[in-house]
């Protein structure tokens, strides 16, 4: 037995060596490289697959910019290019030299006599080396029911296993038992610090402007870092580089319009997309002065342009501007919003080396002006980020990613500017820090069946001056103050985060994947709500706040049935978190210069099983996801130091999504969601202080909210997409595609009117204060909505 194992080990080391040095002595190799694009819009296709039919297990996928590179032995090869929802392209090529080959794939839906949407031979589930990823098909999401007539990717992604909603109607989410501030949300590489509008009911993402959304729940690739639980990478559309395209939508509370067009055909394009709510117009209709003097709206604007400078260079410029406003007459106003900007340069050094240089800006701020009392409160976070990434296609078996970045963070934790004699102005000192990282990772194929992805991310976080810095005693009182000069280091942290993954192909339709990843979080959200509010502020790791750490192990089995008609996966994960943050009772979060003394630190653990079955072809499509999970915390000063359930410890979480194409023009869909109620703290008694009833608590999160469930339905009525004409040559009746597409969407949220508990309060009865009762608040009993979308 022992001998066999050691033989195997020797054998695998030998194999490894052979593969590593293979290029040096193997037969002559040539590289085929190029870009894969959407034929109709000219958009890059990210994650398109290239398979070499004649060489088993050989193939590659395109990177974010549609770039691919494949090194093959000289000779004749049969290549298949494919992408979900697009027609495959197959051709034979005789490799006698390095070849550059750009491919344009056509969408299935452009077929005229299309009735049934057929997807590509989608074995990505099984063949992709990446595990623990939720990828959203934005086209698919279009058919789902929506709340208030607004499509929202952050709500759709909550229907995937391991992703939970933070609450009724909310765009916030928890990933694998982590808290909502442990998700890194990137828009074209720029972090979005507060991804919600209108107190969480909408996300900042206007679906019309987006092209691709990926959520890494685990096995986070080495190029990402900065948050513990997940990375959501959202990419904006590049704009149609073939022709002018306009699409828009009119909903009950918001409307949007998107314009895309080529700058120079096939060389450059732009997109502008805007959205604004007009909910406050309805308020104006109200007779109630409290309502008709209020204003409440948000808008956002997405802009992007790209230009091909030559065969090897391409520039991108993208930006997002969003703002929320809430006000009452001229008495007070509350404004908040994100701004991001990304300037990016793609350069193809060779057919094997692809480079990506980005300069990224990101900002979030809020401002409250109380005009009646003549003062203003605000806060801001601002980042400049320089990032360099290389994709290096070393050989047919190895795909290297190497890169690094430096972020300069500026935090303005808060100010109060008063022109009021009764009120002091306060300015909490700005904080500055540098966050830098270097990474390397390799996707390494060993034989036809095994792929290892191994990577390492080194990160450094340096809190720098100028400013006054405090140290605190165990009670959180200031012990010592020191003044630090410009750019001087106050605290510095180094971390090595290994990211390991293995993918083993069992057979054509099944595989096993395993991964380990360590993540580090240097920025910490200060919030007294677990769902997030516009007033939340971010603070850097410092001489008092240590970085948070997490380790996650995951293993999964992936299987497709009936030649990829059904995909199935089951994943198990175990995650530990270190130095997670909570607050001392009575902690003052806003405008507090010594907030670092108000923090408590503890541990967390989360584990679970995720099941996912999906059917993505045919008239009837949809998926079922089920998550069985726990998430717990332990903090010395909370709950007597015992482990307790985190709020998002939901145990069971089920989503059922069904879509049916009734006819060419009519789609119906249904979504059913069920989850165990959140862990909450309820009183176990009561007493009286100053004549008022006070609840008495015995443990943290020892109770459960009632189970949550609801059914949403939707019906989409499309206009006639074709018109008939008589072919003048043959005299036959033919059909032609119409340029103008439109659709009506009718949705019902919470169809069977379940009163799901949004909150439960324990309080005295209004008529008889000596009687106390539990009062449940349900937010949305049933919400019908209607929207109209068009495209031409």
């Amino acid at each position: 037995m022992r001998a066999i194992i050691s033989d195997k080990a020797k054998y695998s080391i030998l194999i490894l060596l052979i593969i590593f040095f293979a290029p040096s002595w193997a037969q002559k190799n040539f590289t085929i490289s190029g870009q894969i694009k959407d034929k109709e819009t000219g958009e890059d296709l990210f994650g398109a697959t290239i398979i070499v039919e004649n060489l088993k297990g050989v193939g590659t996928t395109t990177n974010m910019y549609g770039f691919y590179s494949l090194t093959l032995p000289a000779g004749e090869h049969q290549l298949v290019f494919s992408y979900i929802g697009f027609e495959n392209i197959e051709f034979k090529i005789n490799l006698t030299q390095n070849v550059k080959k750009d491919i344009q794939l056509g969408s299935n839906s452009t077929q005229i006599n299309e009735v049934v949407v057929t997807a590509e031979k989608a074995d990505r589930n099984v063949s992709s080396t990446q595990m623990s990823v939720a990828r959203l098909d934005l086209k698919e999401a279009e058919a789902l029911p929506v709340l208030f007539g607004e499509r929202d990717i952050l709500k759709t992604i909550q229907l995937m296993p391991g992703v939970q909603s933070t609450g009724e109607g909310s765009s916030g989410f928890y990933v694998r038992g982590g808290s909502s501030d442990q998700n890194l949300i990137l828009l074209d590489g720029a972090p979005v610090y507060n991804a919600s509008h209108l107190l969480g009911f909408f996300s900042v993402f206007n679906s019309d402007a987006l092209r691709d959304v990926q959520l890494y729940k685990g096995a986070i690739p080495a190029e990402y870092g900065g948050r513990l639980s997940s990375v959501m990478d959202v990419k904006m559309k590049e704009g149609n580089s073939k022709k002018l395209e306009i699409n828009g939508g009119i909903g009950l509370i918001a409307s949007k319009l998107t314009i895309e067009a080529p700058i120079v055909k096939d060389k450059g394009s732009f997109i502008i997309s805007g959205r604004r709510t007009y909910a406050d117009l309805f308020l104006k209709l109200s007779n109630d002065e409290m309502q008709n003097k209020s204003s409440l709206y948000f808008y956002d604007l997405n802009l992007k342009a790209n230009y091909q400078l030559g065969a090897k260079d391409r520039l991108f410029l993208s930006g997002y501007f969003g703002k929320d406003h809430f006000g009452f007459s001229d008495i007070f106003g509350f404004d908040w919003g994100n701004r991001t900007g990304t300037l990016r340069w793609n350069h193809t050094f060779s057919d094997k080396l692809f480079s990506n240089t980005s300069l990224i800006y990101s900002e979030y701020n809020y401002k409250i002006s109380i005009k009646s009392a003549d003062f203003e409160i605000g806060s801001r976070i601002k980042d400049y980020n320089l990032k360099q990434d290389f994709d290096y296609y070393l050989n047919r078996n190895m795909k290297l990613k190497i890169g690094g970045n430096v972020i300069h963070h500026t935090f303005d934790p808060g100010y109060l500017e008063s022109n009021n004699d009764n009120l002091n102005s306060i300015d909490v000192q700005n904080k500055y820090s540098l966050e830098s990282a270097l990474y390397i990772s390799n996707e390494h194929k060993i034989g036809g069946r095994l792929t290892f992805t191994y990577g390492l991310r080194y990160s450094n976080f340096n809190q720098i001056g100028p400013g006054d810095f405090y140290t605190y005693d165990s009670e959180g009182e200031v012990k010592d103050t020191s003044t630090i000069g410009n750019w001087e280091s106050v605290a510095s942290f180094n971390n090595l985060s290994p990211r390991l993954g293995a993918h083993f192909t069992l057979n054509e339709s099944s595989s096993i994947k395993a991964s380990y990843s360590r993540t580090t979080q240097y920025l910490h959200l200060m919030s007294n709500s677990s769902t997030g509010t516009p007033l939340d502020i971010w603070l850097p790791s410092s001489n008092n706040i240590w970085p948070e750490l997490a380790d996650q192990y995951a293993i999964g089995y992936f299987r497709n049935f009936k030649s990829n008609l059904y995909e199935f996966s089951i994943e198990a994960y175990y995650k530990t978190m270190d130095r997670v943050i909570d607050f001392r009772p009575g902690a003052e979060i806003n405008l507090n210069p010594t907030i670092e003394g108000e923090l408590l630190y503890g541990k967390g653990r989360a584990f679970g099983l995720e099941f996912f079955v999906k059917k993505s072809q045919g008239k009837f499509t949809g998926w079922i996801s089920y998550t069985l999970a726990r998430s717990q915390r332990q903090i010395e000063q909370v709950n007597n130091g015992n482990w307790y359930s985190a709020k998002q410890d939901r145990i069971h979480d089920i989503s059922v999504v069904a879509m049916y194409k009734l006819s060419k023009r009519l789609d119906i869909s249904a979504v059913w969601v069920y989850y165990t109620g959140n862990a909450v703290t309820f009183p176990s008694g009561k007493y009286e202080i100053e004549g008022e009833t006070i609840n008495y608590y015995t443990e943290r999160n020892g109770y459960r909210m009632p189970d949550y469930h609801r059914l949403d339905l939707s019906l989409t009525l499309n206009n006639k997409r074709t018109k008939s004409y008589i072919d003048p040559e043959s005299g036959e009746k033919r059909e032609k595609k119409k340029r103008f597409e439109s659709s009506w969407n009718f949705s019902i949220y919470n169809t069977y009117m379940r009163e799901n508990a949004y909150s439960i309060t324990f309080r005295p009865n209004e008529d008889d204060p000596k009687k106390t009762e539990a009062v449940q608040l349900a937010l949305f009993k049933i919400i019908p909505s209607i929207s109209y979308n068009f495209k031409f």
Partner: protein
Amino acid sequence: MKTISFPILIFLSIISILTFNACEKVIDIDLNESNPQLVIEALVLDSMVPATVKISQTASFYEYSDYVKINNAVVNISDSDGHIFPLNSIGNGIYTSDSLFGNSGKEYRLNVVYNGQVITSESTIPQKINIDSLSYKPFELGFGDEEMFMVYLYFNDPVNIENFYRFKIYKNGLLENGLRAYNDQYINGQNAKVNVGQFEKGDTVYVELYSVDYANYLYFKTLSDASGSDNPGNPVSNLEGENCLGYFGAYAFSFDTIVIR
């Protein structure tokens, strides 16, 4: 008719959402029972008001709020000069002393013995801050038929020290709010103006201002933070001992009255 009613239905629902006209109802939820805890409210004031200690017990949440009053505890308060003042039960869980009146700057120590349980606490009376005045003016955001008035309280916060305050507000002789507590973060060294609340014409508004120590501020701050919080908990108490809730406050006291005409 049908074509009109559908959009109207939607508009109505939109409006009801925007005005947060959500639906509330009383529900049944099983709650755990807990062992009864001793609840102590103890007060020493720098005035002619005698020191008072109230002792009761916690009750089950769904019980009618007639709390068990404890009349057979041994209660005394001592001062930093070494004087010990026994407090006598006058029934209904209340203990008082005729001879104990507080002084600014002095530290007081509470000692309660009940059923073998010993509970102690300390509190110091801070510098006295007097109410400057009370005023009122018509409420700008007033709606409806009743004319409402906003009442304001003025006092001078000393600049060099950190001050903590409690307010008790009475309307026509009845306690309206006894739980408000503030620090001087926003008003340090200012002529502070504090919004007392909305009242109607004819109301008599009586306000008590207590200068309190940090522990008492923290108790009342964490008490009010707990309601409506995602993670409610018991307030941070300055009482030391097992199975007890409440606070011991030694306060400097000032008051004023205004009648809205």
